[in-house]
Structure formats: structure tokens, C-alpha cells
């Protein structure tokens, strides 16, 4: 047997090392459809518990929406279960084209190409478009999938301090000798819940002849007056050259992603992006359901308006309760605790109170910046939010952090 006990011990030791560092991810099972209130088995084997979910990317509450579920059924009935092919061989149906066209219109872009996920879109877009004569200039806190995609690409890359326009300017000046420059950023930063000022980014891009790519996964469907994304919020819908986004969060929550933008760049992805060329097509049921999602969010802003109200209400209430929060203007509200153990312990206590939230700490966020990330949904009611705030106030009291600022919490618990 090639997998000897010696080999097994080697990998088992790796797992123990992960546990020793406190980085082990426990198994958690959801025994109901995704929603604001879910049935959870955690830890594995424990009695199932009904909890309020404040850690899903189900921003618009569409994951289990009856019209979306019905559209998935229709897709299954009309176009079958799977494509058994990549897109360019025999994996493209008419509904793939329909979805691409609808996404282009919704995002205000020239063309769109579907990928199995936004992770795949980010893995493929840079290599397809850029070469060694070019440079990518990325915000330091971009999503891991963008980092991976950039590393897979032959272009040179550089970084700028998080949302620091002065530093971005300096880097653009430094790289004027390159063939092309591409500024890369998240629209909404998923750990901090802050919005990249795309109006300022695009102004610099104009000044220094640079393209702009935005990963709007935590924005598509709900940021901006009509939910088009961060480019709508900052009034630069015609200035952003490429958007990558997912259908796995606000836009239905199943899977799939896309590259949307300038026609030539999207066409290059269709010709050259490896995750597009070598991975299966999005399944018909998901494509049909995503078409329904785009129709729903195009027809009404009711859900994004509810989400905006919920996020604002939670933010106000949690601050009034005496807790520290980060970010602004998004449904991601990090409750700042700074200390990793404190974040972990408080998240466990919140679960006991029936509120499902997760603590995040280094290396997922910078050292000394541990937090519980709260994600609001249009599916939450005011009562849900009041319960979450009351639980935070109770648990915050238990740990003696109510009313303490950053220095106070660090003085009490360390970083």
C-alpha cells in the first residue's frame, strides 16, 4: 500500500499542528434550507438547535426564495441536470447566453462570461488578459482568490496600503514604464465591511492610464441605489473596466460567477482563461434560477432597501449597546474584539444564546484585529436583529467589554 502508516502519520501531524495553532475549522451542519433562522448540528453529533443566522452571505434572502427555487426546478425540467462538458465544447445552452446578457445589462458592462465560481473567474482573468510587460497594482486586503489569480499570472505585481489613495498614486507613478497598468480591488472588503472609494480609484486610473478591476462579490445585487454594485454607489459605472462577481452570495447563493466588462477583455477570457476552458459549465438549474434572481433584483429594489435598513439599524443598535464596530455602509458589520481567544469565546457564547456568528482572527485578518463578523440579510426581521443585539449586550457584559474602546479591550485581554 502506497499510503503507509508513516505517510499517514506525516499528514496527521500536519492536522495536529493546525489544531495546535488554534486554526482548526470544526465541522458544522445545517439541517434546513439556508435562511435567517436555521437548524444547526454543532458540534458534530450534538443535538440540533434552531438559531438565527448572522454569518451567511445570503444578503438578499434569496437562497430559498420560492420563485428562485421554482426557476431551478424549471431549469432542471427543461434543460436537464448537467452539461457533462466545458462551455466551449458542448456545454453552452441558450440559457447560459441569456444569463450572460442579463448580467451585462444589470452591471452596465459590455460583455459577460460565466465561470463555475468567482474564485475561478479570479483565478483565470489575469493570466488571460495580462502579460510580463504589464503590472497589477492591488489593494493589500483583496480577497484570497484575487491573490491566487495574480500569482498565477506572468504580469509583475505590486500592492498599495488598504484604501490609501496617496499610496496608490505613488505606485501608479512608479509603474508608468509598463505596457499597461491594472488596479485591482474588492468593491466591499468582506472582513472589514468597508467600501473602496471607486470614484477616487477611477480618477487616478484616468490620470495614470490604468485599467480597473473590481471584485464585487459582496456588493452585486444590493450596493448602489439599484443594487448594481460599488461602481453604481460611487457613480462610476462607465469607468470600471472589469467586474468579477459571484452568484453564490446575494444573487441566489448557489454557485457560479463571472467576468463582466470591456468586450475585448471578456473575449480574451473566453479564449484563454484556464478555469473557463477546463472546468464544467454552470448547471442548467442554477443558470435558470440565477436568471430569475437577476429579473427579481432588476424589477424591484425592495430587498436591497430592506437590507440597507437592517444593516443601518443593527449598526446603530450595536454601537448604542456599547460595542466597537468597523466598516460603513455595507451589510457586513465587524464587531471588533482585537483578541483572538475573546472573539472565539464570545462567538461560542453567542451560539449558546441562539445567535450563529463566527470569530475571525489572524491569519484571516491582521494580528491584533480579531473580530466577530456579523452579516445582515434582507430576510432578517427587526425582532431577529433585536435578539442579536440583546445577545451581544449580554455576552459583552459577561466579558466586561461594554463601553470599552480599542485600547480598553486590548488592555483587558491583550492583542
Amino acid at each position: 500500500m502506497a499510503y503507509s502508516s508513516k505517510t499517514r502519520d506525516l499528514f496527521a501531524a500536519d492536522i495536529e499542528e493546525i489544531k495546535g495553532k488554534g486554526l482548526y475549522k470544526e465541522k458544522r451542519f445545517i439541517c434546513s434550507p439556508q435562511d435567517a433562522s436555521i437548524l444547526v448540528e454543532y458540534p458534530e453529533g450534538a443535538e440540533k438547535k434552531q438559531v438565527l443566522n448572522f454569518c451567511a452571505n445570503n444578503y438578499l434572502g434569496l437562497s430559498s426564495h420560492p420563485d428562485v427555487v421554482e426557476a431551478a426546478h424549471e431549469g432542471l425540467r427543461e434543460r436537464g441536470y448537467g452539461m457533462s462538458s466545458v462551455r466551449f465544447i458542448c456545454g453552452t445552452q441558450d440559457i447560459h447566453r441569456t444569463l450572460q446578457d442579463k448580467v451585462s445589462k444589470f452591471l452596465g458592462m459590455e460583455e459577460t462570461l460565466l465561470f463555475p465560481s468567482c474564485m475561478d473567474a479570479n483565478a483565470g482573468v489575469f493570466e488571460a488578459v495580462l502579460g510580463p510587460e504589464d503590472v497589477i497594482i492591488a489593494d493589500r486586503l483583496i480577497h484570497a482568490s484575487l491573490v491566487d489569480g495574480i500569482r498565477l499570472c506572468s504580469a509583475e505585481y505590486d500592492t498599495f496600503k488598504h484604501m490609501n489613495m496617496k499610496h496608490l498614486r505613488k505606485k501608479l507613478e512608479l509603474h508608468q514604464d509598463k505596457r499597461t497598468r491594472m488596479i485591482v480591488t474588492d468593491g466591499v472588503f468582506s472582513m472589514d465591511g468597508d467600501l473602496m472609494p471607486l470614484d477616487e480609484v477611477c480618477a487616478l486610473a484616468d490620470e495614470f492610464d490604468a485599467m480597473v478591476l473590481v471584485d464585487d462579490s459582496h456588493a452585486s445585487g444590493f450596493i448602489g441605489k439599484t443594487g448594481r454594485g460599488v461602481h453604481e454607489h460611487f457613480g462610476v459605472m462607465d469607468k470600471v473596466d472589469l467586474i468579477t462577481t459571484t452568484f453564490g452570495k446575494g444573487l441566489g447563493g448557489a454557485s457560479g460567477g463571472c467576468v463582466s466588462g470591456r468586450a475585448e477583455l471578456v473575449e480574451l477570457c473566453r479564449q484563454k482563461a484556464r478555469p473557463y476552458l477546463f472546468s464544467n459549465s454552470m448547471a442548467p438549474a442554477i443558470v435558470n434560477a440565477t436568471i430569475k434572481v437577476i429579473d427579481l433584483v432588476s424589477a424591484s429594489t425592495e430587498r436591497r432597501d430592506t437590507l440597507e435598513w437592517n444593516a443601518q439599524y443593527f449598526r446603530e443598535q450595536i454601537v448604542a449597546a456599547g460595542l466597537q464596530v468597523g466598516g460603513h455602509g455595507t451589510p457586513i458589520v465587524p464587531v471588533m474584539l482585537y483578541n483572538a481567544k475573546l472573539a472565539n469565546d464570545m462567538a461560542s457564547d453567542m451560539y449558546a444564546e441562539g445567535i450563529y456568528v463566527i470569530g475571525f482572527f489572524f491569519p484571516v485578518v491582521p494580528a491584533g484585529a480579531a473580530r466577530i463578523r456579523v452579516q445582515l440579510s434582507a430576510a432578517h426581521t427587526k425582532e431577529h436583529i433585536d435578539k442579536a443585539v440583546a445577545a451581544f449586550a449580554k455576552i459583552g457584559e459577561k466579558y466586561g467589554i461594554i463601553g470599552l474602546d480599542k485600547k480598553g479591550i486590548i488592555a483587558k485581554y491583550g492583542m
Binding site: A138, R140, V147, Y157, D158, T159, K161, N164, F362, P363, P366, A367, G368
Partner: protein, 85 residues
């Protein structure tokens, strides 16, 4: 000022300018952990590598430009000196 002191000053100045926010009161010294403390992450380490290569006219092989080798200004100087010959 010795060569080492000059290198310490130049690299420290670059690290503070490149990686520490203006409003951050974090103190960085020559033995302050940079990578393991999260001041510099492995993704943004690339600009430090490019700076060193340009400033000292050397080529740092990827397998030597590791997070460990880049963890303090002093360890960076050791790596640079090795390639200065």
C-alpha cells in the same frame, strides 16, 4: 556610519513608509518581526523584494526570499549581504 547601519536605516525607512499607516503608532525596529506579526503579509512582501533588488543591484531567488528570511530588518540584511558577495 557603518555599511550595516546604513542598510538598517535605508531598509527600516522603506518598511515604515511602505507598510505602516501614517496614523499607526506602531514602532518598528530592526528586530521587530514583520511577517509573523502581520505588519507585512506574504502577498505585499513583493514590493520589499523589488526595492532590495533595485537598491542593492542584486537578484534574490524566490526560494530564498521566504517569509522567514524577510521577517526582520536584520534577517533581510543577512540575506542581502549574502548576495552582495
Amino acid at each position: 556610519m557603518s555599511n550595516i547601519e546604513e542598510m538598517q536605516e535605508a531598509i527600516l525607512e522603506y518598511v515604515i513608509d511602505e507598510y505602516v499607516d501614517e496614523d499607526d503608532d506602531e514602532e518598528v525596529e530592526c528586530d521587530t518581526p514583520l511577517i509573523s506579526s502581520g505588519i507585512v503579509d506574504s502577498f505585499s512582501m513583493v514590493s520589499l523584494k523589488v526595492f532590495l533588488e533595485k537598491k542593492y543591484q542584486i537578484k534574490l531567488p524566490d526560494d530564498e526570499a521566504t517569509p522567514e528570511a524577510f521577517d526582520t530588518v536584520n534577517s533581510i540584511i543577512a540575506l542581502v549581504n549574502k548576495h552582495l558577495g
